[in-house]
């Protein structure tokens, strides 16, 4: 536990607090003030730390400058609670006069912060909150919002198509019973069934369930595969218990079921499982290799999409500020500039914005493999990319208007036509 003792020591000696104190350079030339919201205590703390580290890595590599402006990053602990996030966001805007807000983890935090950005006319970049409607049906409520990450259903449309192309006919879904789970399953089901597959059963364990004993025996025997969506501490236990209960068929997963945040703590049972996301740490591009190595050297762990999304956000801002002439041009103008920027060399590959301020990006179909990567000498679990769907938008192949005409994915939408 070297990182742990380092953690503790840095707190004692006081190096870790300087960021939080915001005691950085005196006001001289205009600096870019960024209010960064991430949970640093409580159950989501590590997620928040991964996010923050991704952002810090970019700043660190670029002399703490974005587009030529010195950056004053004020990090606030939102404690994983929507109401605290709102208070802290208002504090950042009203007291610290930040130019923009970045962060949040949970979809609920995204939905809580977005109206704050509207009310206070401040740019907000939800780097993790993936709720579809933030950049879909409710986008008009949030004129100051730009999303640099993903929408929940975005990677799962291609995965549904892929599963169908691979010849799966009947699939059972098991997903955490909350909005994020509905959107992920909804996207998968829509694409899978449109292509001719059948979702024959949907099982919804409560969010946070780790004992899947009650659910595994109910899985229908005639399915070809299971599609799972798990978050936090759920994924590792799910796989272990599934295989322990004698389930031998393939398991597919939504992004967070196998992302690099959970993968290092999984057992070998996970090998061979397939999932989809807009990032894989095992992506074999020079940009990604450099990023993974730099991140791992600095923070002692493989970057997850939490880190990558924030790193890329910093990169995007860097370009935008540069284009704005090295100054903050006001939120409306900066958003206008930013959505016009296409980045070709981010760790996750080329990214650009659609006209609803959500990225168009590659979606990777990934298979868990145990192997050595990037010259590291240990066998580890990696998300090997087996297929790339290039430039996928949040509307998949449906087209914006047709897609937005349907309701947001929910527990009962798309309806389960083939469930008994």
């Amino acid at each position: 536990m070297t990182s742990a003792s380092r953690n503790l020591r840095s707190i004692l000696i006081g190096t870790a607090v300087t960021v939080g104190l915001g005691l950085s350079a005196p006001v001289g030339a205009e600096e870019l003030r960024i209010g960064y919201l991430a949970p640093l205590t409580g159950g989501l703390a590590q997620t928040g730390i991964d996010m923050r580290d991704g952002f810090l890595l970019y700043l660190d590599q670029h002399g703490n400058k974005l587009g030529g402006m010195d950056v004053k990053l004020i990090i606030e602990d939102e404690q994983g609670k929507g109401d605290v996030a709102v208070t802290k966001a208002k504090k950042l805007v009203l007291q610290d006069k930040v130019h923009m807000l970045i962060g949040g983890v949970l979809a609920s935090t995204g939905y809580a912060l977005a109206p704050v950005s509207t009310e206070l006319k401040t740019m907000y970049i939800p780097t993790i909150p993936a709720a579809d409607d933030l950049t879909q049906r409710r986008l008009t409520e949030f004129p100051y919002l730009v999303r640099t990450s993903w929408s929940s259903s975005q990677p799962h449309h291609p995965l549904g198509q892929w599963a169908c192309d691979e010849g799966y006919k009947k699939i059972v879904t098991i997903a955490a019973d909350y909005a994020f789970g509905y959107e992920v399953v909804g996207g998968f089901q829509k694409a899978f069934e449109d292509c001719g597959g059948k979702i024959v059963q949907k099982i919804w364990p409560p969010l946070g369930a780790k004992d899947f004993g009650p659910f595994i025996p109910t899985i229908k025997g005639d399915a070809d595969a299971v599609f799972s969506l798990m978050v936090g501490p759920m994924p590792a236990q799910f796989i272990k218990q599934m295989r322990g209960a004698g389930f031998k068929k393939p398991i597919l997963g939504g992004g967070t079921s196998y992302d690099e945040f959970v993968l290092p703590f999984m057992g070998d049972e996970a090998i061979g499982d397939v999932s989809a996301l807009h990032y894989s740490a095992a992506l074999q591009t020079p940009e990604n290799e450099v990023f993974v190595k730099a991140y791992r050297a600095k923070f002692g762990k493989v970057p997850s999409y939490y880190s990558e999304n924030n790193y890329t956000t910093a990169m995007w801002l860097d370009e935008a500020i540069k284009k704005a002439g090295g100054k903050f041009p006001g939120p409306e103008e900066l958003i206008k500039i930013m959505v016009g920027i296409k980045l070709d060399k981010t760790p996750r590959g080329p990214v650009s914005f659609d006209d609803m301020r959500n990225p168009i990006q590659n979606i990777y179909i990934k298979k868990v493999e145990k192997k050595k990567m990037f010259g590291y000498d240990k066998d580890e679990l990696w998300n090997t990319v087996t297929k790339t769907y290039p430039n996928v938008s949040q509307f998949w192949t449906y087209g914006k208007d047709k897609f937005l005409a349907q309701p947001v994915y929910d527990k009962n939408f798309p309806p389960c036509k083939f469930c008994e």
């Binding site: 536990m1 990182s3 742990a4 003792s5 953690n7 503790l8 707190i11 004692l12 000696i13 006081g14 607090v17 300087t18 104190l21 005691l23 205590t41 409580g42 159950g43 989501l44 703390a45 590590q46 997620t47 730390i49 019973d177 099982i203 919804w204 364990p205 409560p206 946070g208 369930a209 780790k210 004992d211 004993g213 009650p214 659910f215 025996p217 109910t218 936090g232 501490p233 590792a236 236990q237 272990k240 218990q241 322990g244 209960a245 004698g246 945040f261 959970v262 290092p264 703590f265 999984m266 057992g267």
Partner: protein, 350 residues
């Protein structure tokens, strides 16, 4: 839903109940002997898992992690009980010293950024921190000596709140020491197999949990029923004052039971770690479930804890399987009903 479904579900419920027994039994005994509702019990569960992870990380031995984690947390519990819940004589001095040091550390952290670095290097910094903390601690200690704590032994609510204060402290400490990742404990591969009977897969690990809880439960029961010590514990549960009157050292018993309870919760954390994971927030997730066990079974009764654990395990399992929409509600509503009919729980005594 055929027989197979019911068999597997019942098996799963019982194995979850077995885990809950480990957590609940300690809580129940602590309450019985000390009348304390220990809200840091969930923390012991989580800390047990973390200590086990550290042991596995350094020695690679899962088997070794079980006794080490159990003993470590038993000692943590013991210290908490001796210094903060039932301090006697010199323990009060030690407690004040510990609090003074802790407060000094916090103050040092607060003023840290504005203190000049006098000693060079990493070791110099550590020496400086130590010196500053000690210098700060001395006046605080003297102050605490003068105002002196108000006896907490007889005040139920304050003891409860004290355990919450510790739960918060443990939570942050665990985060700082082990980080916030979602760890998982990997048991030896022999236990990850499944027993196959016809179409039914019974994971060996769940079987191991059931057997483990049975063994511990029976051992505890024998200890309680057949030994002098056990008799003394039972007497204390029934009526502490009377027990003291007949010469039982209730003080020693409270110490013993608190350590035992903490150790059992930690044991639950190690065994449950392979099944629920080890991650921040698990402490406050386990706490209400452990309480459900104790409340249903009745506080202070070992048999009650066993029945309570079994009922909660089954209710949770079948509740989730049959009415997933109402999960959690199916867990806590029966608990309210039982309490409404019999406020002391099924096997509790007043």
């Amino acid at each position: 839903m055929n027989t197979q479904f019911w068999v597997v579900q019942a098996f799963n419920g019982i194995s979850y109940g077995a885990l809950l027994f480990l957590v609940g039994a300690g809580l129940s005994l602590i309450f019985g002997v000390m009348r304390i509702v220990n809200l840091s019990h969930g923390s012991y569960f989580l800390l047990g898992g973390y200590v086990a992870l550290s042991v596995i990380g350094t020695t690679g031995s899962w088997l070794l992690s079980i006794p080490i984690a159990t003993l470590t947390i038993a000692v943590v519990g013991l210290i908490m009980e001796r210094l903060f819940l039932r301090p006697e004589g010199h323990a009060k001095l030690v407690r004040d010293a510990v609090i003074a040091l802790g407060t000094a550390l916090v103050i040092r952290l607060l003023i840290g950024p504005i203190l000049p670095r006098l000693l060079p290097g990493q070791i110099g910094a550590i020496i400086q921190v130590t010196l500053v903390v000690i210098v700060l601690a001395i006046p605080i200690f003297l102050l605490l000596q003068r105002i002196s704590a108000v006896a907490i032994e007889a005040d139920l609510l304050r003891q409860v709140l004290m355990t919450v204060g510790f739960a918060f402290l443990f939570q942050q400490a665990a985060l700082d020491i082990w980080g916030g990742n979602n760890f998982d404990i990997q048991p030896p591969s022999a236990l990850t197999q499944s027993l196959v009977i016809g179409d039914i897969y019974l994971p060996l690990y769940r079987l191991f949990m059931i057997v483990g809880a049975l063994v511990i439960g029976i051992a505890l029961w024998l200890a309680m029923e057949k030994t002098r010590m056990g008799a003394a514990v039972r007497a204390t549960v029934d009526d502490a004052q009377m027990a003291r009157g007949v010469g039982i050292d209730t003080n020693k018993i409270s110490m013993l039971i608190f350590a035992l309870g903490a150790g059992m919760a930690a044991l639950g954390g190690v065994i449950g770690g392979a099944f629920l994971g080890v991650y921040p927030g698990l402490d406050f997730e386990m706490l209400p479930i452990a309480f459900a066990v104790v409340i249903i079974g009745g506080m202070g009764s070992l048999g009650g804890a066993a029945i309570g654990a079994l009922l909660v395990g089954l209710a949770d399992n079948f509740g989730k399987a049959l009415f997933p929409e109402l999960a959690y509600f199916t867990l806590y509503a029966p608990m309210v009903l039982i309490l409404a009919i019999k406020p002391t729980g099924l096997f509790g005594r007043d």
